[in-house]
């Protein structure tokens, strides 16, 4: 069985890569990237070469290409040698103007250096000469521009994506010559009073640590890079987005690292476990708080993460749906065509035929007016209050679904020959239902169970939107709307992964439960 599973997992990985590749091809080649500009006011405002340059900025943001502007190249170069006042430098000015002369610019030493450098890295070059009116006056936005452009091919992109999918932090991650003491070691964490794995030279300071948030132990050592948002969550890795707590700031009384060892305390929302290395130079205000260069922090929030919000709502709804749906559906099948069955069927058909938006608003209205449940998630005064209506709105259709299938499978099994035989041998209806029919009907539900639970990780689009739940449900649709290619790919990979995992877990569960199914190659049971 282990061998079979290994094979399945390898095959799944392959499938995952294929799906990712296909989506990348679709997203990057079959959508017209010029559409991105049409509704962009910043693009409309610009003209001439400047407008062209802006286009490259946009395409870079959406991940179509990478480019380096000659001016930026000069800036880095002269900043290093001349310091902040490099713009006053004569060499710099000359180098900057060198590209205005379309005949000779290639011979200028700085330009040659620029071209050499990026040619070696496989870039192409785009040169836009000065745009002038017939009178010789320069047009608006018509200044000369030289760019090194790297159009990414799908294969490059896929390769980069796969090889960069999982990254580990190491003590050599930070590029800072002044940082000489590099280590990763266990230390006592002054905030949790428990041990923590602390790094110096790593991006995060705290690599493994404890705190009061579920699941109480956290890590920054290994990172899954699903994709980077280019629009909605500017340049954030999507796994960070969905795993960062939401809601209002949580103020706690703690000691700043500079206050440790004294009896001074401060009220703050800073999450000291979140700090990352500051490469840009530590400001004086940060110096008052921190003792080292790990000064980039995020805040503690009162709410859960987007992923947790979605999962909790979905999971509770699923549990309710099964706990109630199974007995209801079984009861309906045992009293087929009776009053309970008819009522149940009406409910099932109602849930199936009424559009979800309609019944969500119906339940929302009933819930808020009759029971006084809080409507919008964020405005709920109690912690669990905000979950009530979303859970109900997800549980009720789920309930209908479970009732529908278990009833159907039970009725299918009721006509099976082994049921007739069991009856002919004198077993009571109760014994036949619980001993024979129900276990066989469950065979069919069993396989889908992991899928229903893992599916909660994808969130519920409409419910979350109606109740303004900060969850992951709307992620993909918003991303498609805003052409946020990074998120589209991230979501596809994540959903595909969940589906594949659900199927494997479903099969595993089934093979535990149904003796006819064995997870080995070739000859299984006699199904």
């Amino acid at each position: 069985m282990a061998k079979y599973l290994l094979k399945r997992i390898l095959f799944s990985l392959f499938a995952l890569i294929v799906v990712t590749g296909i989506v990348m091809v679709l997203v990057y080649t079959y959508t017209n990237r010029n559409d991105l500009l049409k509704s962009d006011d910043n693009w409309k405002k610009r003209s001439g070469n400047e407008q062209k340059l802006y286009e490259y900025t946009v395409f870079q943001r959406y991940g179509y290409l990478e480019f380096v502007d000659y001016t930026t190249f000069l800036k880095t170069k002269y900043l290093e040698t001349e310091g902040e006042s490099y713009t006053q430098n004569e060499d710099y000015k000359k180098a900057k103007n060198a590209i205005s002369d379309s005949a000779t610019f290639q011979d200028y030493p700085d330009v040659a250096e620029f071209i050499d450098k990026y040619y070696g890295e496989g870039y192409d070059f785009v040169y836009m000469p000065v745009l002038k009116y017939a009178s010789g006056k320069e047009k608006a936005g018509g200044g000369a521009i030289l760019l090194a452009v790297n159009e990414k091919s799908v294969w490059n992109r896929l390769w980069d994506y796969i090889t960069g999918f999982i990254t580990f932090e190491s003590k050599y991650d930070v590029e800072d010559e002044n940082l000489t003491d590099r280590y990763i070691r266990w230390e006592d964490d002054p905030y949790s009073k428990l041990p923590a794995l602390v790094g110096s030279g790593t991006k995060h300071k705290y690599l493994i640590y404890f705190d009061s948030r579920f699941p109480f132990i956290h890590q920054n050592l290994i990172k899954i890079n699903l994709g980077i948002s280019s629009v909605t969550y500017k340049n954030q890795e999507i796994t960070d987005v969905i795993n960062t707590p939401t809601g209002d700031m949580k103020v706690v009384t703690v000691q700043y690292p500079t206050q440790l060892g004294t009896d001074q305390y401060t009220e703050t929302s800073i999450d000291f476990h979140s700090v990352t290395y500051n490469n840009a130079g530590v400001s004086d205000s940060d110096r008052a708080i921190f003792t080292d260069n790990y000064t980039v922090y995020s805040y503690q929030k009162k709410g859960l993460t987007m992923l947790e919000n979605s999962f909790i709502i979905g999971f509770i709804a699923t549990v309710i749906a099964y706990l109630m749906g199974l007995p209801f559906g079984i009861f309906m099948s045992r009293h087929k065509d009776g009053l309970a069955d008819k009522t149940g069927n009406f409910y099932i058909i109602f849930m199936m035929s009424v559009p979800s938006l309609a019944y969500i608003f119906l339940f929302a209205t009933i819930g808020t007016t009759l029971f006084g449940f809080p409507y919008k998630f964020a405005t709920s005064t109690t912690k669990i209050g905000g979950y009530i209506l979303p859970v109900i709105c997800l549980a009720l259709p789920g309930l209908g679904n479970v009732m529908r299938w278990i009833r159907r499978y039970m009725i299918d099994q009721m006509n099976a020959d082994y049921v007739k035989f069991a009856k002919a041998e004198g077993l009571s209806e109760q014994e036949i239902f619980s001993g024979h029919i129900f276990p066989n009907a469950m065979v069919y539900l069993m396989q889908g169970l992991p899928g229903s639970i893992l599916g909660c990780l994808t969130g519920a689009i409409i419910t979350e939107r109606v109740f303004a739940v900060p969850g992951v449900g709307g992620l993909l649709t918003t991303a498609i709307d805003s052409k946020d290619n990074g998120i589209i790919i991230a979501c596809t990979v994540f959903y595909t992964f969940l589906t594949i995992l659900s199927i494997i877990l479903g099969d595993l569960l089934l093979s535990r439960y149904d003796p006819r199914v064995s997870l080995t190659d070739g000859k299984g049971g006699g199904r």
Binding site: Y418, A424, G435
Partner: protein, 365 residues
């Protein structure tokens, strides 16, 4: 068979009529059947598909579908082991009353062993469920009994196979298990509804031999339902021929095979595969049985009967007595009827059958 007279009557059906409600219309599947079943005998019920063989046995196994009722007649089960030594089965209404009969007094083996067992429970579990239900015992004791009966039905290594699942058994093995479960509570009557139709020929004979053997050892009554007259000749002592919900002829196996009186029985016998000549089409009975939705006047077989007389379309024939054990429901037995000989091909059936049956079991077709 003359000994029948000495045997006790175990089950007695009197003028039983069964109607099915099919979307408001009534289908009369059994039309006034009277039949005595004797203790320890083996009775075969034969007839073409739809003649009511299964429905007839379901009246006393309590397995009638919910849209069917016994609309007339009585069915009495005589059993000295019962507290009130006779029970009218038509009066059993409650499910719990039937549970005392089913499995414990009357058990049924169905046609398809592949689907008669619950696929996801072990053989042992399924046997113990029935044993624990009917015999006040549990756990190890039930297991011991189950293993004992598994050995009886010819399962090698029953201790080991006890925890196997049905899919690990072959078709023949499964049918042995089904028989084992059916017999695990020592029923007085075992109904075998086409027990071997789904099995291949060699396994068929093995299963039939097994039932015969067990019957000798455990002393129960067997009611076989079959289309296969070859099977009948092999296992039954008495034969009842059913046509359109009525018994048209009943007698010992010798009487039915060698002295048949009803034209329908003649037709059935003519269609025996053993009698077909190589290269010729198999004999089949022309026409179709009457619709059971309508009231049938006269002899139900008349429209298909080439010996039919005027009276057949007017009045239903009574059961004419041929011998103490042999009765037939045809006007041909009326003293006023012209003398009709059975068709040529079924005379001397004895020799043909003997030869045929041997071929039949050895040839694998």
């Amino acid at each position: 068979m003359s000994e029948n007279a000495k045997r006790d009557v175990l089950l007695s059906l009197k003028d039983v009529e069964v109607k099915f409600n099919v979307r408001g219309r009534y289908l009369t599947a059994i039309r006034g059947v009277s039949l005595d079943i004797y203790d320890g005998e083996s009775l075969a019920i034969v007839g073409e598909s739809g003649s009511g063989k299964s429905v007839l046995t379901k009246t006393f196994s309590g397995m009638l579908d919910s849209n069917g009722t016994i609309s007339a007649g009585s069915i009495t089960l005589y059993d000295k082991a019962l507290s009130d030594s006779e029970i009218d089965l038509t009066n059993l209404k409650k499910a719990s009353e039937w549970q005392k009969i089913r499995g414990r007094r009357i058990a049924t083996v169905f046609q398809d062993p592949m689907t008669s067992l619950n696929p996801i429970l072990t053989i042992g579990k399924q046997m113990c469920m029935v044993i624990e239900k009917h015999q006040r015992c549990s756990g190890e004791e039930a297991k011991a009994r189950a293993i004992d009966i598994m050995r009886k039905v010819g399962i090698d290594n029953p201790e080991k196979r006890f925890d196997d699942y049905p899919f690990m058994y072959s078709g023949g093995m499964r049918q042995r298990i089904v028989i084992a479960i059916a017999l695990s509570c020592r029923p007085k009557i075992l109904i075998c509804d086409e027990p071997t139709t789904a099995l291949d020929v060699t396994i068929q004979t093995q299963i039939l031999d097994l039932i015969k053997e067990l019957q000798r050892e455990l002393d129960f009554t067997v009611v076989y339902i079959t289309h296969d007259l070859g099977v009948v000749a092999n296992v039954a002592e008495r034969v009842a021929v059913l046509y359109a919900g009525q018994i048209v002829e009943i007698g010992t196996v010798e009487e039915i095979f060698f002295d048949p009186r009803h034209p329908y029985t003649w037709a059935l016998l003519s269609s025996l595969p053993q009698l077909s000549v190589k290269g010729e089409d198999m004999y089949s009975i022309a026409g179709t049985p009457p619709s059971l939705y309508n009231k049938i006047t006269g002899d139900a077989f008349a429209p298909r009967n080439k010996y039919a007389m005027a009276i057949d379309t007017v009045a239903e024939p009574p059961m004419f007595k041929v011998s103490e054990t042999h009765y037939a429901k045809t006007w041909l037995l009326d003293p006023r009827a012209p003398k009709v000989e059975p068709p040529e091909n079924i005379r001397n059936l004895h020799e043909k059958m003997l030869a045929g049956y041997v071929d039949y079991s050895e040839e694998d077709y």
